[in-house]
């Protein structure tokens, strides 16, 4: 095969157009002395020599001081980093200057499911970023968020932190290889505006003090943040949207069906009415008959079931928060059970298999970024 570099350069010679004649012929206004910093070459050279000598002296002194252990280089105390990790559940991780996690917040409803367990999420506070991201990916995998097709994780650093990003990328790829999970990893550094767009947050300044202040004021969970300034009507809409999901509604329907025989013992007529409700079951129907169902379950002695408590709408922010916490825990348990087999039986793949998978994606889509754009 012809040397590709020579081939490329030759092709460019044939491709690159000539410069417009008007630009080529345009006279250049010679720089004035004030514009042209190279005017006094000799003086600059002397100055350069002096600067070089002083710099060399400073380096020698600094080196000596370091050897003597007099000076250490503390990292800037007000430095922090921010990273958003998008799978479909999206979280944002704040680290200190050393790259250890100081805060973690969820950026969408699915991430609330993963982060709802405060004891679990607190285990990664203080840990290195790469460990936190692997932990998060593991929970996502456990709950079925990385089991379908088109699996991809995008980690975005806010303006800086590329070394941490590179380490996180390697750690995550190693995790996927160990778990036999064919998911791609994309890492990017983006500006604050784009970062806020991806994270759903409103970070104004990338310093430790500013970020500490910001995370201390925002709720960790996405829907807790969303509900903070909601009216009661908005809370109800939010509740219907987030808590009374199709999965939960189905679970409630199953629960009612399972206890129908108990209801029949009290009243066949009541049981028939409830069968009518189940046959036309929907969230609106559920809410319309929530009082009836609540009374019925009290009657048959099963009213302390957690699922049943979720049927009635909250009438305060506190009640919304409490019910949301219950719903998230139930969702976590449900998903964990649903995907238990897949997670438990994951078998490691080889590095070559993973590399071939990545190459295949790139061959098909042109780049991992194109793949992300199309799939997400």
């Amino acid at each position: 095969m012809k040397n590709w570099k020579q081939q490329w350069k030759q092709q460019l010679e044939n491709t690159v157009p000539a410069l417009d004649e008007r630009i080529m012929d345009m006279p250049i206004t010679a720089a004035t002395q004030s514009e042209y910093n190279g005017g006094n070459t000799l003086a600059r050279k002397k100055k350069a020599t002096l600067i070089t000598a002083l710099t060399l002296l400073a380096v020698i002194l600094l080196g000596t001081a370091i050897v003597c252990g007099i000076i250490f280089s503390p990292k800037p105390v007000d430095e922090a980093f921010a990273f958003t990790v998008e799978i479909n559940p999206t979280i944002t991780i704040i680290t200190d200057a050393d790259g250890n996690v100081t805060a973690i917040v969820s950026s969408n409803s699915d991430a609330d499911v993963i982060l709802a367990d405060s004891a679990a999420r607190n285990t990664i506070i203080g840990k290195p970023l790469e460990e936190a991201i692997s932990w998060y990916a593991d929970r996502a995998f456990m709950l079925g968020y990385l089991n379908g097709e088109n699996n991809a994780v995008r980690i975005s650093a806010c303006e800086k932190g590329n070394e941490l990003l590179a380490a996180a990328e390697s750690a995550l790829e190693r995790y996927f290889i160990e778990k036999g999970n064919f998911s791609i990893v994309i890492c990017e550094s983006v500006g604050i505006d784009e970062f806020n767009n991806r994270s759903g947050l409103n970070i104004g300044e990338l310093s430790k003090s500013a970020l500490d202040s910001y995370v201390s004021e925002v709720q960790t969970l996405f829907n807790d943040r969303k509900s903070q300034s909601a009216t009661v009507d908005e809370l109800i809409d939010l509740y219907k949207d987030i808590v009374l999901t199709a999965d939960l509604t189905a679970e409630i329907k199953d629960f009612i069906s399972d206890n129908l025989s108990l209801i029949e013992q009290y009243s066949q007529e009541l049981a028939d009415k409830i069968v009518g409700i189940i046959d036309n079951f929907s969230t609106d129907i559920l809410l319309r008959y929530s009082s009836l169902l609540d009374s019925v379950f009290k009657l048959i002695g099963v009213d302390d079931n957690e699922i049943i408590k979720l049927i009635s709408l909250p009438d305060s922010l506190q009640e919304f928060t409490d019910k949301l916490a219950t719903a998230l825990r139930l969702e976590f348990d449900r998903r964990k059970a649903d995907f238990e087999d897949i997670y438990a039986n994951a078998v490691a793949i080889t590095e070559q298999q993973y590399a071939d998978f990545i190459d295949g994606i790139i061959a098909e889509y042109g780049s991992l970024e194109n793949y992300w754009q199309q799939m997400k």
């Binding site: 690159v16 157009p17 250049i28 514009e35 590329n162 550094s189 754009q373």
Partner: protein, 170 residues
């Protein structure tokens, strides 16, 4: 052309030497073109941007600080020009807007192959190293990432490129 030669030409240009400008164009046009193409991803916009870059070089040569890095100075102008073009047209470079070369998988045009098999960042790494003579460490400083990352991305990019070009020759 190395950094010092570019520097000398820029100094001459700042003094009004149009011949030096013509020489600079011939020496750097491929590198500037490829660099712009990695952002703009189509020939038409790249051709326009190329003209703008050299116009800006001519207009601003007086602001160039001699004995600094002429190569980086030119590339910064090119990058700004490309980004301005992208922002001005409110166009994000995605698969829908990218010029699709027919049968690009079978072309032996290196630029087309690069576009089809490499990411934008990978394209830039290859362009900076092969056409501009940047060392991996220097590229890492430009891209604000570890040197090791640049080295491995470059290696992987070349492997992909060679494989695709080999397939095109068969």
């Amino acid at each position: 052309m190395n950094v010092r030669q570019i520097d000398k030409l820029l100094v001459r240009i700042s003094r009004g030497d149009n011949d030096a400008f013509a020489q600079l164009y011939e020496a750097t046009k491929s590198g500037v073109y490829s660099f712009l193409y990695s952002f703009l991803q189509n020939r038409e916009d790249t051709n326009d941007a190329l003209q703008n870059v050299y116009l800006k070089i001519k207009l601003n040569a007086g602001k160039y600080n001699p004995d600094t890095n002429g190569r980086a100075w030119i590339l910064q102008i090119a990058k700004n020009t490309a980004l301005n073009e992208i922002y001005a047209r409110k166009r994000t470079v995605n698969i829908d807007n990218v010029e699709i070369s027919a049968h690009s998988a079978l072309t032996n045009d290196v630029a087309d192959v690069m576009k089809s098999v490499l990411s934008e960042e990978e394209q830039r790494i290859v362009i900076l190293h092969v056409l501009w003579g940047y060392k991996h460490r220097e590229i890492a400083e430009q891209l604000n990432c570890p040197t090791g990352t640049v080295t491995s991305k470059y290696k992987r990019s070349i492997e992909k490129l060679k494989q695709s070009l080999k397939e095109a020759e068969v």
